[in-house]
């Protein structure tokens, strides 16, 4: 089978399997988030938490609970890193530097998993499994909770109540993420991913050198890292490391885990609003953009249009032999289309246009299909913007799912959209304005600019992948990118919950002849158009200075 055909079969096989599982998983999550029974583990947890699971919350209380949980998480994770040398399983590593620990705490709590450190030489095993991996679960569950709260806003009428944050958080962890992660971890071990608590073992190699074979609870962390669209690697080189991603089929499986929940949530949404076809429309938008992006990334990487790939004969720099160019490109597209940010190859060494695709995927706001939860609420915001734009064209009051999109709703949606571009462009401008900060770039010229633009895009969109050449473990970058991650995560969440609250209060508007149908291909096309136009208008000048300048001139 030729490289290209094999690459196509690889993509098609992912599509087929995702199409088969999105429905049962989406239905399962519908039952998880709408069920009224609590299982024994959950009842125990609620008792320990001191919360009453049957009491629902207004959007304000829901948001405050979420923020309180996140603030405590940051503090605990920071403390765990700073004190790791005094606890167990530290591998003899010292406390993590204060600015790196702060950056990492925010990074994992916001589901970004930006890594300003090299795992194998910075983080002890207890920090990895009881600190970082715990946030992999809960930050993903928080994302799903926010998405579900927004969907409840559409589904409910004349109420202030959006559900109970603690119940949504615990159910997401216990009923959705934990069982899939456990099964996934064992599949990964079957492929060769390690799972132990050993210290590095020094061996004498065949030619008499020495090599340290590292240990660690990697598979358990790897599974939730992909499933929760987190992306923070156990090791510096993330999913390129053979102990994180041992074979070509574990590579397929990891891409599958990344896309699993984000592509199933539209089904959950459709069930919750009582119109499955609305879920299909949202899924169609996500799938259209995702497929186009995966194909383009593959085309650019396989073409290898740049001086070094031409000299080499293939874009193999920074790629593993067992994956090859095409599967690496597919992984790169999947990880940036979602908010994962795990990498199985060095994005910094991609061709200019291939690298641009990863940047553009993040700039789209990670909505196709996006992070767990975050992708669905981002896409619903874009649907709201689209009905508004369409309403302006024909002069009608815009409605979506029987809810009026009035001044308050559209203000919240617009503010949501403006948060990340403001963070990305301001941060990049500040970094490029100082000669001292420019010194962090590994590459010079347009590619160096791309490194900085990529860093701020990745942090503000909570992706976490990087053009790895940029030196980011400096106080300035740690603080600046930490702020981008925090604002880029929590400002949109607050706006989404406010929108949910305002939608839930409304009485439903009966559909009339003037209502724009939001389940037809026409609407799907319009949402795709709005998404691309918004991003192009916002980021084209920045892309022109970086990857376009490098790739087209």
């Amino acid at each position: 089978m030729s490289t290209t055909v094999a690459g196509i079969v690889f993509i098609v096989s992912l599509i087929v399997v995702l199409a088969l599982v999105h429905r049962p998983l989406g239905d399962y999550m519908y039952r998880v988030y709408t069920g009224t029974r609590h299982n024994r583990v959950e009842r125990g947890v609620y008792r320990l938490l001191g919360v009453r699971p049957e009491v629902e919350q207004t959007w304000g209380v829901y948001a405050r609970s979420l923020l309180a949980f996140s603030v405590v998480s940051v503090i605990v994770l920071y403390a765990l890193q700073r004190l790791q040398d005094k606890l167990f399983l530290s591998l003899g590593l010292g406390p993590v530097t204060d600015h790196v620990a702060w950056n990492t705490a925010i990074s994992f709590v916001t589901n970004t998993n930006w890594q300003a450190y090299a795992g194998e030489s910075t983080m002890g095993q207890l920090t990895q499994m009881a600190g970082l991996a715990v946030q992999n679960f809960v930050s993903a569950s928080v994302g799903m909770a926010v998405a579900i709260a927004l969907v409840r806003g559409f589904a409910r009428n004349r109420t202030d109540l959006l559900g109970n944050f603690w119940v949504d958080l615990v159910r997401g962890c216990v009923r959705v993420l934990l069982p899939i992660a456990f099964a996934g971890a064992l599949v990964l071990v079957a492929g060769g991913v390690i799972q132990n608590l050993a210290e590095p073992q020094t061996v004498t190699t065949l030619t008499g050198g020495t090599q340290a074979i590292t240990g660690g609870p990697v598979a358990s962390q790897e599974a939730i890292k992909e499933l929760g669209t987190n992306g923070g690697g156990f090791y510096n080189v993330n999913s390129a490391h053979p102990f994180e991603n041992a074979t070509s089929w574990t590579n397929w499986f990891e891409i599958f885990l990344i896309l699993l929940i984000p592509f199933a949530l539209p089904r959950t949404f459709g069930r919750m609003v009582g119109q499955v076809r609305q879920g299909h429309a949202i899924l169609a938008v996500m799938a259209t953009i995702a497929l186009a992006s995966v194909v383009l990334t593959n085309v650019f990487e396989l073409a290898g249009n740049a001086t070094v790939p031409q000299a080499v004969g293939a874009a193999m720099e920074g790629k593993e032999v067992r994956f090859g160019v095409s599967n690496s490109a597919t992984f790169a597209a999947a990880t940036t289309l979602t908010s994962t940010g795990a990498v199985d190859s060095s994005h910094d060494s991609f061709t200019p246009l291939g690298g641009m695709m990863t940047l553009t995927n993040m700039m789209l706001g990670e909505v196709a299909p996006g992070g767990v939860g975050a992708g669905l609420y981002g896409m619903l915001i874009l649907a709201v913007v689209t009905v508004f734009v369409a309403g302006l064209m024909v002069g009608r009051t815009p409605e979506y799912l029987g809810k009026k999109i009035g001044a308050r709703e559209i203000k919240l949606a617009s503010l949501y959209f403006l948060v990340t571009p403001a963070l990305v462009l301001t941060g990049t401008a500040l970094a490029m304005g100082s000669a001292e900060l420019r010194a962090s770039m590994l590459n010079s010229g347009p590619h160096g600019f791309s490194e900085v633009l990529y860093a701020f895009t990745s942090a503000s969109n909570n992706n976490g992948s990087a053009f790895g050449g940029l030196t980011v473990n400096t106080p300035w970058y740690d603080v600046a990118l930490g702020l981008c991650m925090a604002f880029g995560r929590f400002l949109p969440i607050i706006l989404v919950l406010a929108l949910a609250g305002s939608l839930a209060r409304q009485a439903p508007v009966p559909a009339s002849a003037g209502t724009l149908p939001t389940h037809r291909p026409q609407f799907v096309g319009m949402v795709v158009g709005v998404t691309i136009v918004l991003v192009a208008l916002t980021f084209l000048p920045a892309l022109a200075l970086g990857p376009l300048a490098e790739g087209l001139v």
Binding site: S220, A314, V321
Partner: protein, 279 residues
């Protein structure tokens, strides 16, 4: 609890939630997974360690350097890909090169002032030349000079400079677009010139792509089937074995693509070298 102010109640619940979920997801989950993984897939879970004469010599999943103490390739062993992990294949310092696809300009060394820096293009050219010499084939590549550096000109209105070739080396071309080509003077700033990589007339290089590029992890345990084939004759000669025998061992240590379409065929270098030592 009920009598506390609501903001305090919220934060107490948050603290308890972090504690409870840490125990469940941060201790019970990874430890149970470790137990089950150790029971079901003991070898995998512990890093697929391989042995020679009863001693651990590495992991089947982690590549090694097969070089002598001076860093020269050992002729009887198949060679791994270039590695950017520490000094090469160091699992405590995993890394890719992270160099971009248009990284073509070297910084020439000036003794005592500037140590210099090889661009990614020059690294590729130099590796290709060295491998060509080792295997007795042509190491020529597009965009590379015969001396094994990147063939790149900086073009000014009145002259052109082959910036990766330090004087007094003769430039790889004498003229460009009617302009005389000079050699590069270390320490001189050529930033103002237009960068022009010159493709040359090499079409398909003999040395395969994976042999001249560093992997994403710096620990890639594999080489391509083509790179293994290129090395087969040298290894057979160094060991006094027949080429067919060596080829059979290559075949036996090649995996993938899984299910016929996942990834590319990959030859495990450590397993192959072990098999050669054993047979």
């Amino acid at each position: 609890m009920e009598r506390l102010p609501s903001w305090l109640r919220l934060h107490l619940a948050a603290i308890r939630a972090v504690a409870v979920l840490t125990v469940l997801l941060g201790l019970i989950y990874p430890l149970v997974t470790t137990g089950v993984a150790q029971a079901l897939f003991n070898d995998n879970a512990n890093g697929s360690i391989v042995q020679a004469r009863g001693k651990d010599v590495g992991s089947a999943l982690i590549g090694q350097s097969f070089t002598d103490a001076d860093g020269n390739p050992v002729r009887k062993y198949f060679q791994s890909r270039p590695s950017a992990a520490g000094d090469g294949y160091d699992p405590l310092a995993t890394s890719a090169s992270n160099l971009g696809p248009e990284d073509v300009l070297d910084v020439l060394p000036v003794p005592g002032v500037e140590e210099g820096r090889q661009s990614l293009l020059t690294q590729v050219c130099a590796r290709s030349k060295a491998i060509g010499e080792l295997e007795g084939v042509s190491g020529a590549r597009p965009y590379c000079t015969p001396s094994g550096v990147g063939a790149v000109l900086k073009v000014f209105p009145d002259r052109a400079v082959s910036v990766n070739q330090a004087c007094p080396e003769a430039p790889f071309v004498t003229t460009y677009d009617g302009l005389k080509v000079e050699c590069g003077k270390p320490g001189e700033d050529y930033a103002a010139g237009r960068t022009v990589p010159v493709r040359g007339d090499t079409r398909t290089p003999v040395v395969p792509p994976d042999a001249v590029t560093a992997s994403g992890s710096g620990l890639d345990p594999h080489i391509s089937a083509a790179y293994a084939e290129l090395q087969a004759a040298r290894v057979a000669a160094a060991r006094g074995r027949s080429l067919d025998e060596v080829r059979r061992l290559i075949e036996a240590n090649t995996t993938g693509p899984a299910l016929g379409f996942m990834g590319r065929p990959a030859v495990n270098v450590l397993r192959l070298n072990l098999a050669l030592d054993r047979s």
